[in-house]
Subunit: 215 residues, 2 copies
């Protein structure tokens, strides 16, 4: 594949293609046209073609796309053919929910460790992984080839935890704390601000009601 | 405010402005220039001005923006000055994590009820809200002025639950199930596909490593 900068907007859409193609594959569908994929996914066919052209187009259009090939290729682009070890920092409900989510394993994300400052939680297990005290975080990250840290702790401790993780060689942070982290260049951060999407929902409820009321 | 269609991309950025302005307000900052806001939020000043121009611009630029006014106005646009009652369908770890999140209340989202099909969970409480059996869902939604349903159940049951909710008058679904829901026009859906953002992270780790390796 040629090296060129691909926009984060395009990258952000790849996982959804990957999900749909995985389902088509599971259903035994072998080929699909951009038109049919467009109807299924409710995006325009031209958007699909434009997105795919960033990666060379993925095969002839007249015949449609080969579902399995496309699924595999997008998986590779997303790095899902490689293993990424991850830990979860914060063993509250959200941390435990993510630890219990089996599908990550299928995608190559291997749950290796969990940390919490609460002595009540330390020693308990989530899906076979023991909750360890924060004091063990640094050495664990260094010694277990951990790529990704999932931050599910309150805002107050998040910056300090992120700094500690970076110093010990973490490559990426999946951040659920309600704060935008400052990390050095080269450290990947994906923020999940859950309430942001709830606010968007609230906006859309009101907008629709105002439209209906003719306001 | 004039009625015009504002893109979902702009709407999607409003909660982040709202978060930053809330913090500035808490710190006692009264005015901020688009330049300073730009540096703080790491977006261009022209992006900020463009976004705000969708809503009339929010005041003079030479003097900077009035933080509290801007915070309040964006809050109103997001519908946060209104109350929205919500229920959570699915009382697993993720559902409980969302039920326990106090900040929703501050934004006008009131946690009214929780439902699960597991008899072991029924009768237990999450932040004072009792977990009810699924059989009570329909009547509860109808009788308690519920706007929003949070779906934290597995994919298999999500479509059926969504249909049931829509039939009983729900206005919006905040969907954590790993499936894109088909709902009638006018029902707002916001999907949170958590693994999508993990895949994006994985892509960015690999891209950076390839760049560093000069590939």
């Amino acid at each position: 594949m040629e090296e060129k900068e691909i926009s984060q907007a395009v990258i952000g859409r790849l996982p959804r293609y990957f999900r749909y193609l995985g389902e088509l594959k599971d259903e035994g569908v072998e080929r699909i046209s951009s038109q049919d994929l467009s109807e299924l996914m409710k995006v325009t066919a031209s958007q699909i073609r434009q997105d795919f052209n960033n990666f060379g187009g993925f095969g002839q259009q007249g015949y449609g796309y080969n579902v399995e090939y496309l699924y595999d290729e997008i998986g590779k682009i997303l790095g899902l053919n490689r293993r990424h070890n991850f830990i979860i920092v914060g063993a509250g409900n959200l941390g435990r929910a993510l630890g219990n989510y089996m599908n990550f394993e299928r995608r190559g994300f291997i749950f290796k460790g969990m940390f919490d400052r609460d002595p009540e939680l330390v020693g308990k297990c989530v899906r076979g992984v023991e909750i360890m005290p924060m004091e063990k975080l640094n050495s664990f990250v260094r010694e277990n080839d951990i790529d990704i840290a999932v931050l599910t702790i309150p805002k107050a401790g998040a910056e300090a935890a992120a700094e500690q993780l970076v110093q010990n060689g973490i490559k990426a942070i999946w951040n659920f704390a309600h704060v935008d982290l400052n990390v050095p260049e080269g450290i990947q951060v994906e923020n999940v601000h859950l309430s942001d999407s709830l606010m968007k929902l609230s906006y859309n409820i009101d907008r629709y009601e105002n439209e209906q009321a003719g306001k």
